[in-house]
Symmetry: C2
Subunit: 161 residues, 2 copies
């Protein structure tokens, strides 16, 4: 079981866009180049972030992506949900009702399966933790040199193109 690499891409792009705040939209090509990522695949992830209201996109030659709201208001859960969806990781297929369970009274299954309930409770602890951490929190733990270096790299790119 593995989370899509798009989550790592999306989170890093959001942090980059937060660092470049005020510089106007950033194109997929430049974001892709800044991490050496395949532009077409990255664009799909960025579009998913737009649909989730995390990024806004501006069309046209000078267009691209910007954060749609401040890093304090974007949680890790928002980005994970935008890229991975919101389905439970553990999906109960109710095997308890099959085979030996087929003859059971419906009443026995009135309560949700104890296994599914316990698994869901654990997953909620994960989602709560993801929802408790914002992009701003993550950025606060990143060395200032990374932000400066990123700004310099994009500024140099702008000069060249």
């Amino acid at each position: 079981m593995r989370m899509s690499e798009g989550v790592e891409w999306g989170l890093h792009c959001c942090v980059t866009l937060a660092w470049l705040e005020g510089d106007g939209p950033v194109s997929t090509a430049r974001l892709a180049a800044s991490f050496e990522l395949p532009a077409a695949y990255l664009n799909k992830r960025l579009q998913a972030l737009v649909r989730a209201g995390i990024l806004s996109s501006t069309p046209g030659a000078r267009g691209g992506f910007q954060l749609a709201r401040s890093p304090e208001r974007i949680t890790l859960m928002d980005v994970v949900a935008a890229i991975e969806g919101t389905d439970d990781v553990f999906r109960c297929t109710e095997i308890r009702r099959r085979g030996a369970g087929a003859a059971a009274s419906g009443r026995e299954f009135g309560r949700p399966c104890g296994i599914a309930t316990a698994m869901r409770q654990a997953e909620l602890a994960w989602r709560r933790e993801l929802a408790a951490q914002t992009l701003a929190d993550v950025m606060a733990g990143t060395p200032a040199s990374a932000a400066e270096r990123t700004r310099r790299w994009f500024a140099a790119e702008r000069t060249h193109t």
Copy 2:
């Protein structure tokens, strides 16, 4: 992102084996029939639980599987780790070092990536919750009628075969 259905199978089989405690080993064929699962695939999951020390297996015509320790000492985390492995769900591929990051000093990367750290922290909350819940806890939340029905079903199976 989805957990293997083998986790649901493994957890239900462990609960069933706990209910049948004292009846001797239970074969893959009978466990598979009790949930209408494909026996060959189920066997792979059961073997993984044996390798993890959760089940013990007895070879031979009357052989099969039993819990290797009491349900109080088997956590949901044990079963998930046995079936899914222990790799992080979010895997950092260090894209921060590529492209714009290639020119950065190594010192900037001395600390782990803030994104990876935050994602790992959230995942730990999930694993802690899985590790805090035992099979015995799950069984305590299951209707007694399910345990009785399961015992009756396996007893009838034994008579027929």
